[in-house]
């Protein structure tokens, strides 16, 4: 299913008052930030989107895709699900290698065509995960010993190449150990729509708009300015610089040179 647009029709806040907008439209390839204090309704909004709610949740919001309601199996069947979720916790419990795990997931998603194609896909996922994390993942690494950064990188690459859900929800992903902006760029390159709950400025200031939550309602919509994007780029450069120095330290090298001049990684957008 090709997704061009998501529309959120307003619902009600915790006091039962109507949200102050009629509808919000989001187009393919856009990143939407969700910000606000604890208890302001961020998770509930993600939940409404994940459910593609039709007024049955407590906020009464309605969510349409390409101006239509969505059939139930597209919400739940893992082989067809259109919504992917990147949660805070990315622990694994299966005692197996990265390669084997990815193969099982490829099967589950109904994406196995031939042994050859699956093998290629696995390699592609691991390669792109390695562009996101500093500590290299090999296909024979056991899942259970992956570090936090490696797990996050692997799951982002998995979302990009295996899950292929066109809509992705991200709940407070940590940036420790990964090039976080590159991670999202990988997902956006595939034309996905991303909703992310985050207060990490590298991410929040690099969105297309931010939904500001208050008392359970979307109380404001901020369109990201060019200046904010520039700040995000700069912060992302610092984050990646930190990661590189960290790698030098890990490899037992001496860090001799202090780099002060930033060359923005994402280029100007």
């Amino acid at each position: 299913m090709k997704i061009k647009k998501i529309t959120i029709f307003s619902g009600r806040n915790k006091q039962g008052e109507k949200e102050s907008f009629e509808k919000i439209e989001i187009l393919a390839g856009q990143k939407i930030g969700i910000v606000g204090p604890t208890g302001s309704g961020k998770s509930q909004l993600l939940y409404d989107i994940e459910k593609l709610s039709q007024g049955e949740t407590k906020t009464l919001r309605k969510i349409l895709i390409n101006d239509n309601k969505v059939q139930k199996d597209l919400r739940t069947d893992p082989a067809r699900k259109i919504i992917g979720y990147l949660t805070q916790h990315m622990n694994f419990m299966t005692d197996t290698t990265v390669q084997n795990f990815l193969e099982i997931h490829i099967m589950t998603r109904g994406r196995h065509r031939s042994e050859e194609s699956t093998k290629e896909l696995v390699e592609k996922i691991i390669d792109s995960a390695n562009t996101i994390t500093g500590e290299e993942i090999s296909k024979n690494t056991n899942l259970l010993i992956l570090s936090g950064g490696q797990s996050r990188a692997l799951m982002v690459a998995d979302l990009a190449y295996v899950s292929e859900s066109p809509i992705i929800l991200i709940d407070e992903i940590e940036n420790a150990g990964i090039r976080i902006k590159e991670a999202l760029d990988l997902l956006i390159k595939k034309g996905k729509i991303i909703f992310l709950v985050t207060h990490n400025p590298i991410l929040a200031l690099d969105t297309d708009k931010r939904l500001v939550m208050k008392k359970g309602a979307i109380s404001n919509i901020i369109y990201t300015s060019v200046k904010e994007r520039g700040i995000a780029n700069y912060l992302s450069w610092i984050n990646n610089y930190l990661l590189n120095v960290r790698e030098e330290v890990r490899k037992g090298k001496k860090v001799e040179e202090l780099r002060l001049i930033c060359t923005p990684v994402g280029g100007e957008k």
């Binding site: 893992p78 979720y85 949660t87 622990n91 419990m93 299966t94 099982i104 295996v162 899950s163």
Partner: protein
């Protein structure tokens, strides 16, 4: 009246999920019963939160699921004016799981607790499987787990639920509202294993001869009592009565129905 049975291993999130589901069912009059082997406080938690009638049912010496099957008709009779009876099982016996055909059988399945293929009827005979604790692992593993559940519980609908956030509660409440009213005789979804050896009659020594002897004595006594589980002897079930007799804790004529009483 509707009836829903929540089965699931200890700590899988049954009570947590039930609380969110009940939030969605506030317009119904509900009775809640929790079965457990030794002790529980779940009935107090639910009572505190919703101010409805709740009870605990402690099975002691018998399989908590066999016990539940024995008690369910009594609970139904006593609360027949209610809209809904919610039963939370002890969840210790994967084999027995007292699901009934007439009501709704929900398995609360902890995603961290092992392979779906190793569960018995607790999972395979559920009408609805609510997978909990998915928040603790990656989406990829959640998807894999879900497809493994579908392999063994082919006809069940599957919901991703969460006992901390209430995710999935609306769908479970929906399924309860759509479930049929129970009427007439209730039937188990599958037969339960029988008491088949001396250990079932309370034998503790690991010794085949003693076990066999205990079994024949137990069987002989069982043949003479009417197996009503009526409780007149002071025990919850006939089996417990038989154990006590074999342990010489009570006299067999404590059961008023005993035929061919020894003089």
């Amino acid at each position: 009246m509707k009836m829903v049975i929540f089965g699931g291993t200890p700590g899988s999130g049954k009570t947590s999920v039930i609380k969110f589901v009940m939030q969605e069912l506030k317009d119904l009059s509900i009775h809640y019963a929790k079965f457990d082997v030794l002790t529980t406080e779940d009935h107090l938690l639910i009572k505190d939160k919703f101010e409805i009638s709740t009870e605990k049912k402690i099975s002691g010496e018998i399989c908590p699921d066999h016990y539940a099957a024995l008690e369910i008709p009594k609970i139904v009779e006593k609360h027949k004016n209610k809209d809904l009876i919610i039963i939370e099982t002890a969840g210790l016996c994967l084999r027995c799981s007292p699901y009934i055909n007439e009501g709704l059988a929900i398995n609360i399945l902890n995603i961290l607790a092992g392979k779906p293929s190793s569960y018995g009827p607790l999972l395979t005979h559920a009408d609805l499987v609510a997978i909990t604790k998915g928040d603790l692992i990656s989406q990829a593993e959640r998807e894999i787990f879900r497809s493994e559940v579908l392999k063994v519980a082919r006809n069940a609908s599957i919901i991703e639920a969460n006992g901390l956030t209430g995710e999935g509660a609306i769908d479970i409440a929906e399924a309860i509202k759509e479930s049929p009213e129970i009427k007439g005789k209730l039937t188990l979804k599958h037969s339960m294993p029988t008491a088949v050896c001396g250990y079932c009659y309370g034998n503790k020594t690991i010794d085949s001869e003693k076990t066999l002897k205990r079994y024949s004595l137990g069987k002989e006594l069982k043949a003479r009592i009417p197996n009503l589980n009526c409780g007149k002897c002071g025990f919850k079930s006939c089996n417990e009565f038989i154990r006590a007799v074999l342990d010489k804790k009570v006299n067999e004529d404590t059961c008023p129905y005993l035929e061919g009483k020894k003089g």
